[in-house]
Amino acid sequence: AQSVSQHNHHVILSEAASLELGCNYSYGGTVNLFWYVQYPGQHLQLLLKYFSGDPLVKGIKGFEAEFIKSKFSFNLRKPSVQWSDTAEYFCAVNKGRSQGNLIFGKGTKLSVKP
């Protein structure tokens, strides 16, 4: 079955540290890839997405992600985190043009210490 793995359950960083959150998926065909963020007590918001083209995708709030097809990975990065980045981050994968089949990872909770 198709699955999405997020390697870290909880990451704790100090402000200005660099961030990389891992995401791997198991589906071998064409995929659409997403990173969502959920701030405490709020709903999910899209950070960035990859459909095709340049594998380095830039999103909102200084986040970026790189799609590496050979590694089935879509890792999220930010060079310098802020306290306001404290949130839970979800990677999600959708098979090709198929709606209704967005598979989420279990999430990574990021805590940034001021």
Binding site: N32, F34, Y36, Q42, H43, L44, Q45, L46, K49, F51, F90, N94, R97, Q99, G100, L102, F104, G105, K106, G107
Partner: protein, 115 residues
């Protein structure tokens, strides 16, 4: 934010009672989804709809039913609530075309507690 509302936002109910959650959108999007979010499980798809009266099951559909009689409303029903259905429920929508194709927009969530 996309025009998605969910009602109620919080509900406490007892085991065995029926519960209906409502999702309402003002975006005229074709697709609507119901997810549940539980610690350690991320979001899991319960049911989704690809048009009025067109629905399909997701990963965790047992114990849930849905209905969509209008484009803007998608109802999730727990026929007989159980404690295992205590969760936060999110509705999402997506369009069938345009620049945001395949991107899902989420509602504010409903926190349901079954005692």
């Amino acid at each position: 934010d996309a025009g998605i509302t969910q009602s109620p936002r919080h509900k406490v109910t007892e085991t065995g009672t029926p519960v209906t959650l409502r999702c309402h959108q003002t975006e005229n999007h074709r697709y609507m989804y119901w997810y549940r979010q539980d610690p350690g499980h991320g979001l899991r798809l319960i049911h989704y709809s690809y048009g009025v009266k067109d629905t399909d099951k997701g990963e965790v559909s047992d114990g849930y039913s849905v209905s969509r009689s209008k484009t803007e409303d998608f109802l999730l029903t727990l026929e007989s609530a159980t404690s295992s259905q205590t969760s936060v429920y999110f509705c999402a929508i997506s369009s069938s075309g345009g620049s945001s194709y395949n991107e899902q927009f989420f509602g504010p969530g409903t926190r349901l507690t079954v005692l």
